[in-house]
Symmetry: C4
Subunit: 265 residues, 4 copies
């Protein structure tokens, strides 16, 4: 049964408003990531359902550019599909095992970013924070050695272990995982992760010695930074852009755009 | 006589459903390759007609972005046009000789990919599998030395010989040939071939020592891989994208998109 | 109160035509810079209000792609918002302090150009004029060391000091400021700044020794150059392009496009 | 008086059909070059008027994306505007002096191609034929040393002298000139020139020793090549593409697209 019908029926029981909201946001962020060239024919976003021991992830068969809330399936932390139509993507273990291992994380992105992959193919080169916004990844960006499809729980657990307490993990010859405190923050991180990887790539390609952010610079950046405000600003910008370009159904806008009040500082 | 009329008339004799289907699929894959920037003003796709000693290829005069099933000509393995309007492209010998030499191959792409060409212009540099999906080309990617238009059968035979048992052959200063078991698989290979070539190019341009896939990594990738499912997933994604962007006539969709059942695993 | 209502009301007092015009031009140049990929989710343009001790800058909450004259706030040289709805962007200090320090400057752009940032991350590499149009920056392009958000007046003053008498300043790991004699000239400078940075980047990435413009070449270029005509030509081109692509409201055109007479030499 | 009215009036005297045709073709090729990113805010195409001692070039004030036959002015070989509205571009001397010096040339393109400019900024690097289609430039691609606006006849003469008998000349830190036997061939050359420059750039950026076309390879390429057919094929492709994307007025198509008969070999 599609989620939209389910949550109406289940209104009394669980947290349908929460499920509706997270399914819509996850569908929206998937389309935004397609629009930004971060997702294409594969990759997926998962997000915890508030007030429920479960998360949403799109079913494996739906085109990323056409995802709707009804493309979502609800999966519990044993990996069982507990609601929604269709089957979760074959790489479910990525999301399941990371969400289990990291209670602080609310949303997970797995994608096949060209730039991120490149940083797993160069002997002795490490992706590090170059641009101001990349202070987010100051604790490090590890690389997981398994280059294959992550289908099994053991593979997902190994990946979660490589991720450790960090916010990003590269996957050798394959892709990338990002984790964040919300789907909105996850989207904004994905934009900045790409910017930062491109920055280091440009510098390396210029044959120059890169000058990564120093610890002092990171401290100064963080002193002047408001992550929450910044996430709202970018979410507002990209959401409106996609709505204007009809990459999102127009009627999603009202539920997704931060209210005018929220945008005032 | 255009193929669409022909196959109706010839319905009793040969395998018109097969011809209709392969002509439509070949036209569609041509347009998808244009949309992805893999074909542009030249290059072509050929595909065997099931149940008949012949293959389809577009006539040379039609713009790649406007190809329809009626742009196809049917050519037998002597190189004679046996059905359809117009003449085959001047580089027919590429398709003819490869299809003759490789009974396992159902579809052939010839294109002028910038990245592929670059790998024929660099002293001592060999294009190798870097990204997980490029395990497809683990047996090697040879380079054919003839940089000219392949118009003569001897030239086509020499090219087929350089290709040998592999799935790809670079053509010095000129282009690329890919071969696969279906037009859908051919399209997906073309997408991944480009990704892989770009990956190695990026790494070389960064001045780093590339770390190609090892034999162990390829074995692990193949263990977790389902080529058929993957081909269907990407075909579905790109076909829907092109339909949504009106790069394909809307009424082609029904005949081309894998049914919902097929998309369930 | 939005500027459009304000200036009608204040028509007798100050210079409403001037305010209307500069608010419209600043909104237009912001959208043009978005269309050219120079602004995106952040960055802003400021411009002095003629006949008034104040300048306009967009409020911080409006998406750059949707800015209108009513998105502008009027700020005086003490940093107080004296008209318009909403609050100035959090990096107001950039504009305020540069406009205070540089009476010759009428318009200021702050953006996060990828290429400009790259030139603050490479040991021993200096961005210099390569292409003919970059003679504009012959006096030098300094780099400001503070990589953080410029929120405080002291930070803005330090930035203005690094800018000194030049027309551009890079901001370490963060972005760029350009200054010019009008918003139109500022836009044209932004286009050429990007071209020039990309030119040097391409050359460095090719592993070649760059050949920057010599003093003699710059003298020859300036002898044959008409900056005013050139600014009008490019403004006309980009404005019409954005109007044609509906990136600007159609009814802005009449007020913004140089008249046919102006375009005659 | 605009050309469209002029040629009707002058129908008895000169060669109005010729003027109409060349003005339309020159307008069309200008828009095609904009669509391909080869022209943008500046640059221009000139073409001889058949049966008349004069050539057409667009007036300097019209946006390149909006050029029509009526944007053309007719200029004689003394540089006098003899028909059409507006003034020729300020760099008229480029076209005038090259058309005077090279009776074999029918059409001239001046543009500011980023890639071409890059090859005037790298110590000891020479742009040479890499890709098969670049055999066109086997005689060499000289670089003209004057980086400034070419406004004076002496500057144009010096440029024509550097061009000599070749088909292309780079202009230091400024741009490029291509010459050909027709506007259609000029367009196709522009596409291939860019491809070839990008090919060499990619190879250099990969840090590899480039392998340019050898004399033997060029001989083999030319043996198999039909320039006329190739020009028609590409003209057909790009013209239809621009018509389909509404970058050219639809009613230009009939006059510009090679007839079906012409497309048959």
């Amino acid at each position: 049964m599609p989620i939209s019908q389910l949550s109406v029926k289940a209104a009394a029981a669980a947290s349908p408003a929460g499920l509706d909201k997270v399914a819509l946001e996850t569908a929206a962020v998937t389309r935004l990531l397609v629009a930004e060239g971060i997702l294409d024919y594969s990759g997926h976003v998962s997000a915890r359902v508030p007030g429920r021991d479960a998360f949403v992830v799109q079913n494996g068969a739906t085109s990323r550019a056409e995802v709707t809330p009804d493309s979502m399936v609800v999966v519990d932390y044993e990996g069982r599909t507990v609601a929604g139509d269709g089957q979760p993507p074959s790489e479910l273990a990525i999301h399941l095992q990371i969400l289990k291992a990291r209670p602080d994380v609310q949303a997970v992105l797995h994608c096949h970013s060209e730039l991120a992959i490149a940083f797993t193919m160069m002997q002795g080169v490490q992706l590090v924070p170059m641009r101001a916004r990349a202070s987010r990844w100051k604790s490090g960006i590890p690389t997981h050695p398994d280059p294959s499809h992550i289908k099994r729980n053991e593979q997902g657990q190994a990946l979660a272990q490589t991720l450790g307490p960090h916010h990003a993990v590269l996957m050798r010859a394959h892709g990338l995982v990002l984790v964040a405190e919300s789907v909105q923050a996850l989207f904004v991180d994905a934009v900045h992760f790409k910017e930062n990887a491109r920055a280091l790539m440009e510098v390396l390609q210029a044959g120059a010695s890169p000058l990564p952010l120093t610890a002092e610079e990171i401290a100064q950046i963080e002193k002047m930074e408001s992550r929450d405000w910044h996430v709202k600003k970018l979410w507002n910008y990209y959401l409106r852009k996609c709505l204007a370009e009809d990459l999102l159904p127009r009627d999603w806008g009202a539920a997704l755009i931060p209210s005018k009040e929220m945008m005032r500082r």
